[in-house]
Symmetry: D2
Subunit: 340 residues, 4 copies
């Protein structure tokens, strides 16, 4: 019987407890596809998950990672959506193909509670995969399922951002950098924050119109507003962190939108709801997106030849190193793992 | 020269400082209308305003009250929207006739910062008034501009509530009772909370499908969710108060909406943003609504002969009594003032 | 080997060529359910299909009928959406569960090109069925998949109809009567046309606010507009027929909506596009709806205990009689077939 | 008493009857502004209007032209929206500042029935003008009110076009060229048709991704579809003309949109409504747009420094020549008139 190499949090939570394992190869159902993995990417959620901070009740062992891309090497007898040889990504919420999110649709997410992609091979329902744009390398494509789709859902599906609009982005993590790229495609103006002058320079090279070093400007919400002539920004992608929401509410215009996406966020923070009320502001929680959104995003990526920004690629054998690198938070763009 | 009788907070804030005054009659511009007031209604915002709690920098004297209805007794030379003899209400945000809210549009609100309706006569721009449904008495019509329109904007303009949906309402104040009436027109199911068994009975008579006494059930968010078979309610009209938002977030379904309308709310409260994120919830601040919304609401009121629930009508001479009655918070429906 | 009784158009098109047949019982896939049919209903599309007028290239034999309800009697090994004993309807477009329509999603429709429901037993993918409201009889439930969902999609999903709105309906066929029921749930006012005074009386009993006998009033578009004080109706459900669209365009207000649903329509008719342009009118083609819409509609039907209007129920053995009765166009509400 | 030079259709319709006139200078109301005109632009509607083909009952004399830009030289006592020295355009529908179109809002359109902009001076309500982007020349700015805003309303307000979408444009007139520019800002792919190879080359220089010479390819609807891999285009801006709608319906995808804007269209043409129905297509009539849309468009134009394409500028004294040039239909972009 064949075995499949993977990494898992076996006995107890913690990045240091992430161990290589061998699993039995899984049989293939009629509507399932076998994917030989080529590359993964990490999200901050993966770190929280591995540490047991995302869901302390998550059963172990757990194979982590929501994002992964591979080649279809075998298909079940009734599979019609994809074919052997196709290069596919898993979709984060395996049950959310289309329409509005529901509890059922967002229940089975890869990388916890369902086993994730840090495995040399994965068997998935044909409905749970999506073809990725040809122009992207494997690692580039592996960055799309969570970070890119979260940015797309925020700005496009929910945000309706367009030319003449101003978008405020926080930091230079995976979602924010994708949001920067997409906001420019959409014709919007972008303000981005970071505590690193070097990262802000790179953001400007990627098209950011205004930058704010929040280590130097504590009232960056007000400064963002000033960039709009005092009117306020149209859209904030709120990735969270202590006190960021308060600043976002100072930055956003009357009737503006704040996409709340941040698992970085402190779990509970004091929020003054009065400005939300008084300024007709919308806070919209965003948990990645549907497969329909993924496919629409892929069309845009292919048309505009958007190349994801990759910080560093680790070998599969050094997966623990990838987690440690992301946890150190010095990256710009995505941290990836390659299976070759 | 003619004078007009009014009430105003003259020197310092406080309900006890609300005094009868006489003002010079205002001349009429080409596009203005003179309205002989017939009735007003009170909102909790008016109490905060008079006490200096809404805006401590509000210049005095201030004639309070956002809501009032009267008869057009004179029109400027170029007025075309209304005619002498029409019965009209002022619109809360005098500059917000249509479209999305902007800072400019929501700046000039009646009852602060702009002088309000507790005056025997008011001169308003023709764009700042709206004809009220004929079937309503003067006091009934006087309840519409803030409370009713806030409920309408929450459920219809922003909420898209319809048959098969479940709406959770908090308490039995003006907005909540209008929301109850409108939710039933829209075909939705209604859950309503109160700490008074008697008020809950009256809410049931008005069509509430489920009631929760929050004095007895502290986890009323969970109970509301249970009424939906565990799925969660589709829409919450959040009128605020200590800890209510936390319960609302427990009650609402994945992808559901929370209309944040509450000036009752404590100014700052700790909010756990994680459920907003994880469950794709939308929080939408609502500050009354546009004149377009007012007119759409009036069509619905006229068609369905919706009669507002009036708690008690005070004489103009006893306006202070009206404020004290609302502040005591034992009302069910609207507290009104009549000029006759 | 077991056989299943059905009706099919075997050799050539025509109602008179609809014949009883016996088919081999179909094996069950892992994700499929076996449904013992209890009732069907007919739509005008079925007549066009059987006559070869809907698609002259439709391969034969074809088992007709899009609408049917039955009991799940067996489920595949991996079925999770439904259980043995559940009462389910097939969804018209088997691939359209959610989201926007696409060519792929609306390709596999029951009753042509895919075999339909006029069969004692049907095997369907679990994704292609939906549980029906308990309060409905089998024949009542059998009326939902096409006619009811088309009306729901028109008024709710696409139309955003609500209290204060006026809806114009044409005739008293299946879609129009469901649209009447739903429009009333939504709080709207309804104008309905017919050439039969008796049918108009029945429509009034079901809640129609205004009726027009188009045999007597040729310019019924203008008359409908007059019922709205000259403003025009907000929404028309255009079921087609010679010259109806021209009247609909006269009836609808500036910025109003026309749902184009009519397979009754002459294939090509002269349309004056100028009023569409000049009055900002929206024409929206409607081809039934998604499973999400079906489930939302079912929640509304269950909450409001909406009982479909059934014209007449034929025995399975008299299926040809059902087709002839519908073709004669003297029905009010739905024509059904029972398998008992 | 001062007089103002203008052109008008005085006695009878026809370009040849367009004559220079002198009118009394109009007094200024409290809310009005006096604009010294600097430039106008022509739309095909102006030709139809002058010929009496748009509205044969249009009273004469009529000063034509919907589009014009000038400098505010005097303001009424209560004007607050603009100041002396501002450069403004008139808005086409003087009453449509915001929100959905209504009969009242689109009634008073410049260039018929209301006198238009071909006048050395115009007095307009302050609500009926909008500041234009500084980067544009006077003639460039004069092209915005109708052609540009129609394109913007089609693609943005109504069309929701974005990256990954494909837009089909017909011909190289004013609206189509603006639609090309805006579609590229929005990140969409553009297919454009013309009967002139030279014009198609210029369209490619402006960013068109695919071009079709409809003089050579009669089935250009199918060819446009082929450019999308057979799926169909997402959006068509239908400017009208014999048989174009039939081709548009062949080009558009299931669930796609067709903006119907064309006064070029034959008044009545046979339309096969079946594809509209079967493919869930939306036809949306577009009559320019609101002032809110104009201002949003201006923000996008300023941000992206969009320079309108001007075909030729005529002197005010040669206004008749401008009409004749547009009527000859050999232009690419906008035909303008300068007052200097």
């Amino acid at each position: 019987m064949n075995t499949v190499a993977a990494y898992a949090v076996v006995d107890q939570f913690g990045i240091e407890n992430l161990k290589p394992i061998a699993r039995e190869q899984q049989p293939l159902g009629h509507y399932e596809v076998r994917v030989r993995m080529r590359a993964c990417s990490l999200n901050y959620r993966d770190i929280l998950m591995v540490r047991g901070q995302y869901n302390p009740k998550q059963p172990l062992p757990l194979v982590p990672l929501s994002d992964g891309v591979g080649e279809v090497v075998e298909v079940g007898s009734r599979v019609s959506r994809v074919a052997v040889g196709d290069r596919v990504a898993g979709i984060f919420a395996q049950g959310w193909t289309s329409g509005a999110p529901t509890r059922e649709r967002i229940r089975s997410t890869l990388g916890g509670p369902v086993d994730g992609m840090l495995s040399a091979e994965r068997v998935l329902d044909e409905e749970g995969v999506v073809r990725v744009p040809e122009l992207l390398s494997d690692t580039e494509a592996a960055t799309l399922p969570c970070a890119a789709l979260t940015a797309w859902t925020s700005l496009v599906t929910q945000g309706d951002v367009g030319p003449g609009d101003t978008v405020l982005l926080q930091g230079t993590g995976g979602v924010s950098i994708f949001a920067l790229r997409f906001a420019k495609l959409l014709g919007a103006r972008v303000i981005i924050t970071s505590s690193s002058g070097e990262k802000l320079e790179r953001a400007q090279e990627l098209g950011a119109d205004h930058v704010i070093n929040y280590a130097e400007v504590r009232e960056w919400g007000r400064m963002a507003r000033d960039f709009t002539g005092g009117v306020g920004v149209d859209h904030v992608v709120e990735v969270g962190g202590a006190g960021t929401l308060a600043q976002s509410l100072k930055a956003v215009r009357v009737g503006g939108h704040v996409s709340v996406i941040g698992v970085l966020a402190g779990a509970v923070q004091p929020v003054n709801v009065i400005p939300i009320l008084m300024n007709n502001i919308r806070l919209q929680g965003i948990i990645v997106g549907s497969r329909d959104g993924f496919e629409a995003m892929n069309r845009a990526i292919a048309q505009h030849e958007v190349r994801p920004v990759i910080d560093r690629i680790f070998d599969f054998d050094d997966s623990v190193g990838a987690f440690e690198h992301l946890a150190a938070a010095r990256h710009f763009g995505k941290v990836c793992i390659s299976f070759r």
